[in-house]
């Protein structure tokens, strides 16, 4: 097994024992990128210079006994996180040449934990998409089938983890953007509780929904990454000063005696039968581990897509107003007036999906429409959150499919926004409620595509999520298949 195929905890052990060096691991990762990324297109930018410096520093630290949680671990960063001195595009022409003057808090935390930042991964433009097809830098291809999408918007991070172009990756999730690509690429993806991880330096799509989280090769790696990412940040007023446990502690505790809620609204007509079967397999495994699975209802589930597609575009229309070509980023030449310059810059700098959402959001916030749309959606959102609060009174976790179908073909839904929006039907509600959720590989389709199961916990119970996921992961009779690349 070559070094780039290892997990975070494996690499860590080999580095600490001196079996390998951080530079060797990094070389293996960059060799792999050289070999496959021309096809996969997981990365927008590589950070070779800084990465080798960090790897060399890691080797010095290791030789002197200074070991931190991510010392020498090559991590890929979704290109939505601000990195000082390193181009940060957010998948958009608007920021094609934008070099930020500061690091996001999570970047600083990873650097302080010794991580080696490999590069910036591809994504849907401004995280608006479920397929990576809206990226200005070209679609990322699914490692299992190059004609299929990797999911989105953290498609680059998910593909890079599965294709072993990194050891672990970081993404962001506004309506499923970590979990859906994790399911489509056969990796573990965790969306933390809103407020658990700092958003400072995360380029905003929808501020009340965005959250940073890890994409990893197994559950233990997710725990290791969460130990570094989670925690209060004074620079983010919405981050919460809630104590951070050691997420690795509960990895082998099992779920005996737990109650697992199975919401009937998530097993709808039209769900792919193979996914249904795979999730049923997980339910059987959970029961075999001594947990009780219980039919529950999340009655406002049917409003999730509508609520999400009012709130997220509304916030986005405001968050993306700063891209006006005046201070940084793309600007068209010409335009006789200020208004012309704005119009031309924003028309050429943004792609179609971003413009669609800006228009929807601007409309729903407009005078005379605010009450009927944004305000009403906010009220329904409170009901959706209440559904989860009610359910967690009697359940330890909730279990659903992550996606209604396996990865679809490139081009299949790109011209049908409504179909595209429905691919996130099982993940949107989690962001609206602000609760944490994790997607875990749970099987394969007959076409050999990975399928994902979603576990959901109550606010700030990432530890329970990881505990349950680790139990399922170690007991699911899942054949280890290698991706197609």
């Amino acid at each position: 097994m070559s070094l780039n195929e290892l997990t975070v905890h494996d690499v860590h052990n080999k580095l600490v024992t001196g079996e390998v060096t951080a530079v060797e691991v990094l070389e293996a990762v960059y060799d792999r990128i050289d070999a496959v990324d021309g096809t996969i297109n997981a990365y927008i930018s590589l950070m070779k210079e800084g990465a080798y410096e960090a790897a060399e520093q890691a080797d010095r630290d290791l030789s002197e006994g200074r070991v931190k949680p991510l010392t020498g671990i090559p991590v890929a960063i979704k290109d939505i996180l601000s990195t000082e001195g390193v181009r940060t595009t957010c998948g958009s022409r608007m920021l094609e040449n934008f070099i930020p003057p500061y690091d996001a808090t999570v970047i600083r935390r990873m650097k302080e934990a010794g991580a080696v930042l490999v590069g910036k991964t591809n994504m849907d433009e401004f995280a608006m998409g479920s397929s990576n097809e809206t990226s200005y830098f070209g679609v990322t291809r699914n490692p299992w089938d190059r004609n299929r999408i990797p999911g989105g918007s953290s498609g680059g991070s998910a593909a890079a983890v599965n294709a072993n172009e990194c050891i672990a990756a970081v993404g962001s999730d506004t309506g499923g953007s970590i979990r859906q690509p994790a399911a489509h690429c056969g990796v573990v993806g965790l969306k933390p509780t809103y407020g658990r991880v700092s958003r400072y330096g995360l380029i905003a799509f929808a501020s009340s929904l965005d959250q940073v989280g890890p994409l990893t090769k197994d559950v233990e790696d997710a725990a290791v990454m969460m130990n570094v990412l989670a925690g209060h940040d004074a620079a983010d007023s919405t981050s919460v000063p809630h104590p951070v446990p050691d997420y690795r502690e509960n990895l082998s505790r099992g779920i005996e005696g737990w109650t697992v809620g199975i919401p009937r609204e998530y097993f709808i007509e039209g769900i792919d039968p193979e996914i249904k079967a795979a999730v049923d397999g997980v339910i059987a495994t959970v029961e075999s581990l001594g947990a009780e699975c219980r039919d529950i209802s999340l009655p406002h589930s049917r409003y999730c897509v509508a609520v999400y597609y009012i709130i997220a575009p509304a916030e986005a229309s405001s968050n993306l107003a700063r891209y006006d070509g005046v201070r940084y980023g793309f600007r068209t030449s010409g335009g006789d007036t200020l208004l012309d310059s704005y119009k031309m810059t924003r028309s050429a700098g943004f792609g179609a999906e971003v413009k669609r959402r800006i228009m929807i959001g601007t409309y729903s916030l407009s005078a005379g429409y605010y009450d009927a749309y944004y305000k009403k959606a906010s009220q329904v959102r409170a009901l959706i959150k209440k559904d989860f609060d009610d359910a967690f009174r009697s359940c330890d976790i909730i279990l659903t499919p992550t996606t209604p179908t396996p990865a679809f073909r490139i081009g299949e839904k790109v011209d049908d926004p409504l179909q595209m929006y429905l691919t996130d039907i099982f993940t949107l509600s989690i962001n609206l409620a602000g609760v944490p959720a994790l997607s875990l590989p749970c099987g394969y389709s007959t076409d050999g595509l990975p399928l994902g199961v979603q576990l959901i916990a109550h606010h700030f119970q990432e530890d329970k999520l990881i505990q349950a996921a680790a139990a399922v992961e170690s007991h699911l009779p899942l054949e280890k298949k290698r991706p197609g690349i």
Partner: protein, 477 residues
């Protein structure tokens, strides 16, 4: 037909905090363009605001001073519009849930008092400054001011004349400066005012269509702009036209208002709750702490001065124009126990010198205790009131105490009867003609003899003693 104007005012006051409202940048005025900036106030991708608590504290001060109801839970909202000096494309302000509502202040105009309602007070960030080249194609943007904290104070439409409007503004200005939360500098834009004005036939109830006036950067300009706009609206109605709802700019040079944008072009700011900030929670403890630290406000001080010191209300008005001057007066009044004399000196020589040398009250070189000592020297007859002016000037120049100056310059009054007696004799001998005329009945010459005695003693002779001796001598002759 007779018309009645209806006026409401919106004031933006910059708060005197060290750092900006949502980041750590300095608020200092006059720094090199774009030097007081950071990724947060520049609106870089991914940055987030963090509320400066001192801003809330200052806003609570103003809310308490204007008798507002403070909303224990209030929140920020985004006001969306595009402009190059607004880096995020939205201003973080308060909208549906402002800091404070339903207050009032008393104004004094033409000797009568009137209560003006305060609709609301809210916190927000200032925008940057666009500097348009006079004769070129370029507009420059300076973002130093971006994120400087503001409070917006919105009045009820309670004012019925431009003079009342100006009185309201002066009172608001006075309160802000008294609270030491705003420097009140209108030229630098620390205190800015917009006006809503309409007219209606006197005796009717419904308001007319209003115009919003902008760009008035002095009290005088506010009054002039309101005068002009009221006349314009009345002319409109008189000539059978209708007043349209619009925003108008005051042109201080031309002394007219121009239409800037009509109702149709009015911005739709698409306000919605700011998701990057949590609601502001204000506890009773916090309010009580702020309340304890509040100074006495100008109008209360004015009333107290009249009551406590028995000085005329005109004097009290002048003396309470600033907190520093009022404090100065109070020390002088207490040291001397002579409030009216203290008031005369402070309003007279002290303010005249302040004005002449263009210094701030805080920097007066004569301490109030020293001035008090000097007044005591007048009262106890050590120096005459006339000599005191010289002593005061010397104190102002040298900073020395009045006793030292009197001593050094030998300015003490000559009370010694023998010494005065001798001088009086000299004067009478030196002016036999005047003496003869006086004795012939020209009694007006008494003053001449007094003057001569004062001249020979360089003004130091005690005038009472001179009078007594002179009267005695003249009757003896």
């Amino acid at each position: 037909m007779e018309y009645e104007p209806i006026i409401g005012l919106e004031v933006h006051a910059q708060l005197l905090t060290e750092s900006k409202i949502f980041c750590g940048c300095s608020t200092r005025f006059g720094a090199a363009p774009n030097s007081n900036t950071c990724p947060i106030c520049l609106g870089m991708p991914g940055v987030l605001p963090v509320l400066n608590r001192t801003v809330v504290e200052y806003a609570i001060k103003m809310a308490l001073a204007t008798h507002c109801r403070i909303n224990r839970v209030n929140s920020f909202a985004r006001k969306n519009y595009f402009y190059p000096d607004l880096p995020k494309g939205y201003q973080i302000s308060q909208y549906a849930e402002p800091l404070a509502e339903k207050g009032h202040i008393d104004i004094e105009y033409d000797g009568t008092r009137k209560t003006i309602g305060i609709t609301r007070i809210h916190m927000e960030e200032d925008a940057g400054k666009s500097i348009h080249e006079d004769d070129g194609d370029y507009t420059y943007v300076d973002l130093n001011r971006t994120g400087v904290p503001l409070i917006e104070i919105v009045s009820e439409p309670d004012m019925r004349s431009p003079a009342e409007g100006a009185a309201y503004l002066r009172r608001l200005h006075e309160i802000l400066v008294y609270l030491e939360i705003c420097d009140g500098n209108m030229e630098e834009g620390s205190f800015r005012c917009d006006a809503n004005v309409s007219v209606r036939p006197r005796g009717t109830e419904t308001f007319g269509t209003r115009a919003e006036l902008k760009n008035m950067n002095s009290f005088r300009n506010v009054q002039l702009a309101l005068d002009y706009e009221i006349e314009r609206q009345i002319d409109c109605l008189e000539s059978g036209e209708t007043v349209i709802q619009e925003t108008r700019l005051w042109d201080a040079q031309g002394r007219v208002t121009h239409s800037m944008r009509g109702k149709e072009e009015a911005h739709d700011y698409r306000y919605f709750p700011e998701p990057d900030l949590v609601p502001v929670m204000i506890s009773d403890n916090w309010i009580n702490d702020v309340k304890r630290g509040l100074p006495e406000l100008p109008l209360e001080k004015r009333d107290r001065f009249v009551r406590e010191y028995g000085i005329p209300s005109y004097d009290a008005g002048v003396l309470t124009a600033s907190r520093a001057l009022a404090d100065y007066f109070e020390v002088v009044a207490k040291v001397t126990g002579q409030p009216k004399t203290a008031s005369n000196w402070v309003m007279g020589s002290v303010l005249a010198s302040v004005k002449e040398e263009k210094i701030e009250v805080e920097k007066i070189p004569v301490s109030p205790d020293a001035l008090g000592d000097m007044i005591i020297a007048i009262v106890d007859g050590t120096i005459s009131g006339k000599i005191a002016k010289d002593v005061f000037d010397a104190m102002w120049q040298t900073g020395k105490s009045p006793r030292v100056i009197i001593e050094e310059k030998g300015l003490a009054q000559i009370d010694d009867t023998g010494a005065v007696d001798a001088v009086v004799n000299e004067v009478l001998i030196a002016h036999p003609m005047q003496l003869a005329e006086y004795q012939a009945g020209k009694e007006k010459l008494f003053g001449f003899f007094v003057g001569q005695v004062m001249k020979r003693t360089q003004g130091k002779a005690n005038p009472q003693v001179v009078n007594d001796i002179l009267k005695k001598k003249l009757s003896e002759q």
